[in-house]
Amino acid sequence: MSTGSNKAILVLEDGRTFVGQGIGADSDAAGELVFNTSMAGYLEILTDPSYVGQMVVMTYPHIGNYGIHPEQMESERPGAEAFIVRELSVPQGHWRATGSLEELMRACGTPGIHGIDTRALTLHIRQAGPLRAILSRTELDPNPLLERARSLPRMEGRDLVSGVTCREPHDFGAPPGAGRPLLGVYDFGVKRAILQQLAEYFALRVYPSNVPAKEVLADSPVAVFLSNGPGDPAALSTPISNIKSLLGRVPITGICLGHQLAALAIGARTYKMKFGHHGGNHPVQDLTTGSVRIGVHNHSFAVDEKSLPPGVRVSHRSLNDETLEGLACDDPPLWTVQYHPEASPGPHDGYDLFPAMKDWLLNRIG
């Protein structure tokens, strides 16, 4: 609220505009619009590298209520290009807070808009599908902004990973030891919560996204984990060919983008969803046990079930729209999930997937 009457405008590629007030950095932003239906966890969402290239609309109207808690950030800085909220709160003293969302957005150069009808915007995205848009705090005339929005590159075919992967291989968590095998992690923009969850069961070595497979294999990990990340998986030809080289040589696991890349590596196809799944309340059924857990989702692409090669089975499915949410294969050994068992933010129902994955991996390697 501290920016007062400072106007901001959001212009969608189909011409729809929303006028509100600017929040965060005094800059403009561009990207594809997605909405997230989580009611809390704005900090985790804002700092999730998977949102690179996207401007995130929070459907819950009050955002920023409890301030900033650095330990809850999923990366060093916001991944989302902009934050679009109904109302930014001035936090009032959660005992653990170190600052406000507005301060963080300013410090990191992330702009945003508030005071707009985010529900109208959400329904619009639901109906129109993925829309490119410009958020401006400097130019308030919609016409030039519309031109800019229409000239933005589309998500499809863009490699957004190279901007968020780590620069050098590095270790995470405790070193390998008894009962603590080494897991290689390809970082496509990995969330800190994934590393933390994996580190409960494995010693981790994290690799930049384009490191050749043989470099990873040289470290003799028991398995390779493919992380989450932003954008279109089909555009990531180097990672896909690396994964192809790994298939059959080590068991492969992965989450979200990593799941999509694995699918592409075994010959399946991915597709862009109409508006994706972004939230913490979707039912995911484990097709092995039949049990349903509330899953955390953040994906705009999905694996086309019809394209799965023989021998690959669906391990998890969304009950909302039947989207494929996990796939498994015995040969080559592969088990990946589309949803986010690490949560952060959202329900912890998926946590038990990590020990299950460990058991599965250990069984594969005898």
């Binding site: 929303f18 909405f35 239906t37 819950y60 009808d117 913490g280 949560a343 912890h348």
Partner: protein
């Protein structure tokens, strides 16, 4: 898994009468459960003593026992019915306790009935605090440090180990009855005594104080395949220490990080599994220390609850319906989310709005009661409001309360003058520290007077985020005051988005409400309507459940078909409860049957009318002109029905008519005429009707002169009130003067009516429907207390049990005459007094009355539906109604009083209504129906023991006959001096007992010692009231059957007689109705 095929017949226990702590939310849950299970093909038998409910409508369950919810009666019903399973989780704490008792007593085992939803061991683990503590600790969480006591000595031992302040909670009570906080030894001593007495197990828990911690509730669902989800998180605006039913609550939680929320979620899921709730919903409460994040589990309800009703309405997820279906084996993923129509019910609703619930208090009914809020629930109802911001929702909730406030400003007279700066600050601070029903308004006042957010949060322990929200509202008030002459679009929009009402904006900018509305219209600051869709817009919603907001885009479309709007009755309060919702629901059902789209507007989350599947369109909105007009503009209905929504709806009739909106049925000017007592009096005189002498007064002088002319005793009543608000019987001039001021306040400055009070008359009440041509009197009831006791507080019998058929015919003729003369279309209710063979007209109400559901159930007619059809222009004959119904059975309605909750007030009945709810007993004769009603109301009539009699002189002749009968039945008689003399004079043995003021041991001492089983104490005159007070108070506190009228005493004695003759036999309502239909030749 498909639902279970090994069961066919399901038994459901309802929650009984509305009492504080257990309100109409269980009608919502029970009716959902019955309907869902019947729709799944099961045979459903229901027991519930509450006639005002939708669930006891004869078409809801397969068989409906309107019988007392006692172990004995329900056991008999189970023996007759032999259901396969018992579902105890739909009837509140009453249903759950009864279910547990039936299991504990071996009834269920003996009859091979399985408990579903929550089994006995589950109930015990959730309800027994030591078992619960074990469960909580087994999942790595903590409950507050505590210890149990079953005696005072044990209590003191526990208290010493914990240190003050201490919380005292009796085991197994509802709404925290008997709970309290003790800051010192003396308070502790009192609280322990009371707690031990209130607990049915004579057990209390003494625990560490978490006063000032943040309080949260989670609503959890689990199915038989162990799928579980959280339906809603609720955060209390008020901190720990105030009963959650008396707290302002907010959904979803606002001030917790995702990690904190998830830890509550993890804890809730672990706990529902540890306690072992296999299917259904549970509610779990947590406290968090705002200074360090420490977490405690406070309690768990393994059943649907007040909060789950709220959560259902807040999210659009029908918890009760789904819990019922899970109990018979469905799993969450097999049940469709009806809101989206596509996705399964196995998900967690996502909200894109804020929901605020506010409690509705009725302390005005109980002068003398301390208004401090604490662990024991005191509110009688609640409102819910939905907005796109907390402030918008809070503003709407405040407008919905109908406590005479439409904003956060206090009446100026509440703020003391002449205080120094320091005194003013310390006064305001004290108002923040002590929680009362007005604290929100004091918070706003403190912020207005430059208290900082931090200071207010520190004093009140309300989270600073909430305080800041209120501060933003106060800031806007100031801005409006400063730019009163130049209100622009931007400021108005901000104000409306922050929940400021037109009336508030008007007060601040020197305009009236209408001018503000016109200004907004010119500036296009007008609300739009958004949908409650369970999924924050992610999927298309097919249920038309709307709320307003000052946003850009509306979601109301396709309104071209015929539609009618029904105004609901708002929050429950004494005098306007569930009975009115019953009418609104039936109005909606009748419209749907006629193919007319029904639009419901209501603000009460506990009701059936706010179920999204009752009406074609549902608007969860305050029932004020500001909020209703935009709905009418959006929906363009043919007309509005105001007859069913009590005063809440009627109040709007004038303004709606002024705005050119057709009111269906009886014209507003007729309603106005009947509600304005002064004008109506004149009209009645012109009709030549016999009434008690009376007149209207606008000044004190007029009143005194009138009183002298009529002669005392008198009834003083204000115009336009329900439930006899501020109505009194006065015996002398001093009393008259004292009451006049209050009456004028309650009646908003309109005339005060002064009537002669017909002492010892019999009161009759009639309900009728008219189509404008013919009028059918659907029921004539005889009140069991004499005239002078409010009809809502009096037991009543249908048909009358003591007046002659001629009198009944006279009454019916009077109803028809007045109906025709007034031009009634729809419902009408009249009250009469019969004295010395003369019938006096006391009151005419051109609207639905409180008795409509009771009459409907007794005579087997859907009275409100028939009235709605009449209002839609369908002649009664076309609806099959050609003659007044005759009943062959007898139904008795008994009122249920909240006096246990208000420890400092008198329990004497009078013309101001005090009861919160009612029960019904039905059988083939009056005494049996009466006994059933008494049992239903919680008065277990004794077979033997001691009767205490103390009556005023006029009652002595009648009393002697009763004393003889009591003696004949083996009762010993205790009486005060005068009464004892009268009894002794006819040769009956009697023991004289001292009055309280006469020293000790007196009657109250004997009552406390358990020596007294019945109390008959009539003292209408003021001179005896103080003395009788202690006796009545003790009777209430000790649960001894008592009556304060001779007519009531007579019914009581007849009831005991009946009870001793032969056992009661339960019978289901449909059997009575079928027999009646057969006799009338209509079946």
């Amino acid at each position: 898994m498909p639902p279970r095929t090994d069961i066919h017949h399901i038994f459901i226990i309802g929650s009984g009468p509305i009492v504080i702590g257990q309100g109409c939310e269980f009608d919502y849950s029970g009716s959902q459960a019955c309907r869902a299970l019947k729709a799944d093909g099961y045979e459903v038998t229901l027991v519930n003593s509450n006639p005002a409910t939708i669930m006891t409508d004869p078409d809801v369950a397969t068989r409906t026992y309107v019988e007392p919810l006692t172990l004995e009666t329900v056991t008999r019903i189970l023996e007759i019915e032999r259901p396969d399973v018992l579902l105890p989780t739909m009837g509140g704490q009453t249903g759950l306790n009864l279910g547990a008792d039936l299991a504990r007593e071996g009834v269920l085992d003996r009859l091979k009935i399985e408990m579903v939803g929550a089994k006995r061991d589950v109930i015990e683990r959730a309800e027994d605090r030591s078992l619960f503590k074990k469960c909580v600790e087994s999942i790595g969480l903590q409950v507050p440090a505590s210890g149990y006591a079953r005696s005072e000595a044990e209590a003191h031992a526990v208290g010493e180990t914990l240190g003050y302040p201490l919380i005292i909670r009796p085991s197994f009570t509802l709404g925290g009855t008997g709970g309290g906080v003790a800051y010192n030894r003396e308070e502790f001593h009192d609280a322990v005594q009371r707690g031990l007495r209130e607990s049915p197990r004579h057990e209390i828990l003494i625990e560490e104080s978490l006063l000032g911690w943040k309080e949260f509730e989670l609503e959890v669902m689990r199915d038989s395949a162990d799928n579980a989800s959280i339906i809603c998180t609720i955060e209390n605006f008020d901190p720990m220490g105030i009963h959650t039913g008396d707290s302002i609550t907010v959904a979803p939680a606002q001030t917790l990080t995702d990690r904190e929320l998830q830890s509550l979620r993890d804890g809730s899921l672990a706990l529902i599994r540890a306690v072992g709730v296999e299917t259904g919903g549970s509610n779990i409460q947590f406290a968090i220390n705002p200074r360090n994040g420490d977490l405690r589990v406070i309690e768990m309800n393994p059943r649907v609850s007040r909060s789950s009703a709220l959560a259902s309405k807040a999210t659009g997820f029908p918890i009760a319906k789904i819990a019922a279906r899970l109990a018979v084996g469905w799993t969450l993923n097999e049940i469709r989310n009806e809101v989206t129509g596509e996705t399964p019910a196995c998900f967690e609703p996502a909200l894109d709005y804020v929901v605020v619930k506010m409690p509705r208090f009725n302390f005005d009914k109980f002068p003398g009661a301390r208004q401090t809020l604490g662990l024991e629930m005191r509110s009688v109802g609640e409102v819910m409001a939905i907005g796109r911001t907390f402030r918008e929702a809070l503003g709407k909730a405040v407008r919905s309360l109908e406590t005479g406030t439409d904003g956060l400003d206090l009446p100026p007279e509440n703020i003391p003058d002449g205080l120094s700066e320091e005194e003013r600050r310390s006064f305001l601070e004290s108002q923040l520290v002590e929680a009362t029903p007005d604290r929100l308004w004091w918070l706003a006042e403190a912020l207005r007077q430059d208290f900082s957010v931090e200071e207010c949060a520190e004093a009140s322990r309300i989270d600073p985020w909430f305080v800041d929200q209120v501060a933003q509202m106060v800031m806007l008030e100031k801005k409006i005051s400063l730019s009163a002459d130049s209100l622009d679009e931007d400021l108005l929009r901000k104000a409306k988005r922050s929940g400021l009402s037109d009336a508030t904006i008007g007060r601040l900018s020197h305009r009236d409400e209408k001018e503000v509305r016109e200004l907004r219209r010119r500036l296009n600051v007008w609300p739009v309507f958004k949908r409650v869709d369970t999924c924050a817009g992610e999927f298309e919603a097919i249920t038309p459940y709307f709320y307003s907001s000052y946003e850009e885009e509306t979601e109301v479309r396709d309104v071209d078909d015929r539609s009618i709007l029904i105004l609901g009755s708002g929050p429950n309060r004494i005098g306007q409860g569930l009975e009115f919702d019953h009418g609104c629901v039936h109005a909606s059902l009748a419209l749907k049957k006629l193919g007319v789209r029904s639009i419901m507007v209501n603000s009460n989350p506990s009701t059936v009318s706010t179920d999204y599947d009752v009406s074609d369109h549902l608007y969860f909105e305050p029932i004020t002109i500001e909020d209703v007009l935009p709905i009418i503009e959006a929906e363009r209905p043919e007309g509005v029905i105001v007859q069913f929504g009590g005063q809440t709806a009627l109040k709007l009739a004038g303004a709606l008519a002024e705005a050119g909106i057709p009111i269906l049925g009886t014209p507003p000017e007729v309603i106005d005429l009947t509600e304005d007592r002064g004008r109506f009096q004149v009209w009645m005189e012109s009709m030549g009707l016999l009434q008690p002498e009376s007149g209207a007064a606008l000044t004190v002088e007029e009143a005194i002169a009138l009183a002298k002319a009529i002669g005392y005793p008198l009834i003083v009543r204000p115009s336009y009130v329900l439930g006899g608000r501020a109505m009194r019987i006065v015996y002398e001039e001093d009393e008259l003067l004292a009451y006049l001021q209050e009456a004028w306040r309650a009646g908003a400055g309109r005339a005060v009516l002064i009537d002669r009070f017909l002492e010892a008359a019999i009161e009759l009440e009639a309900d009728a429907i008219s189509d404008g041509e013919s009028t059918i009197v659907v029921g004539v009831m005889e009140l069991i207390e004499e005239a002078g006791v409010h009809s809502g507080d009096s037991a009543a019998a249908l048909p009358p049990h003591s007046v002659s058929p001629d009198i009944v015919e006279t009454v019916k003729d009077l109803v028809r005459t007045l109906s025709r003369a007034l031009g009634i279309v729809g419902l009408m209710n009249m009250q009469f007094a019969v004295k010395d063979g003369q019938v006096y007209v006391l009151e005419v109400n051109a609207r639905a009355s409180r008795t409509v559901p009771f009459v409907s159930k007794t005579v087997g007619l859907l009275v409100a539906q028939l009235a709605t059809r009449a209002m839609m222009g369908i002649p009664l004959a076309e609806s099959g109604l050609t003659a007044d119904p005759e009943v062959k059975h007898v139904a008795v309605k008994e009122a249920v009083m909240p006096f246990r909750r208000f420890r400092d007030v008198d329990t004497l009945l009078g013309p101001e209504m005090k009861s919160t709810g009612e029960v019904m007993g039905v059988d083939l004769d009056f005494p049996t129906a009466y006994v059933k009603a008494q049992l239903g109301a919680g008065m277990a009539l004794p077979h033997s023991g001691r009767a205490f009699l103390s009556v005023r002189n006029e009652d002595k002749p009648a009393l002697v006959a009763l004393a003889e009968e009591l003696h004949r039945m083996g009762f010993s008689i205790l009486a005060t001096k005068g009464t004892a003399g009268a009894i002794r004079a006819v040769g009956l043995p009697v023991e004289r007992i001292l009055k309280v003021r006469e020293g000790g041991p007196n009657i109250v001492d004997r009552m406390i010692n358990g020596d007294v089983q019945i109390v008959i104490n009539t003292s209408l005159g003021r001179s005896t009231v103080r003395d009788a007070y202690w006796v009545r108070r003790a009777a209430v506190d000790l649960g001894i059957p008592y009556t304060t009228t001779i007519a009531g005493a007579s019914a009581l004695v007849r009831g005991i007689q009946r009870l001793k003759e032969r056992p009661l036999v339960p019978q289901y309502l449909q059997a009575f109705l079928k027999e009646q239909a057969r006799l009338q030749g209509t079946a």
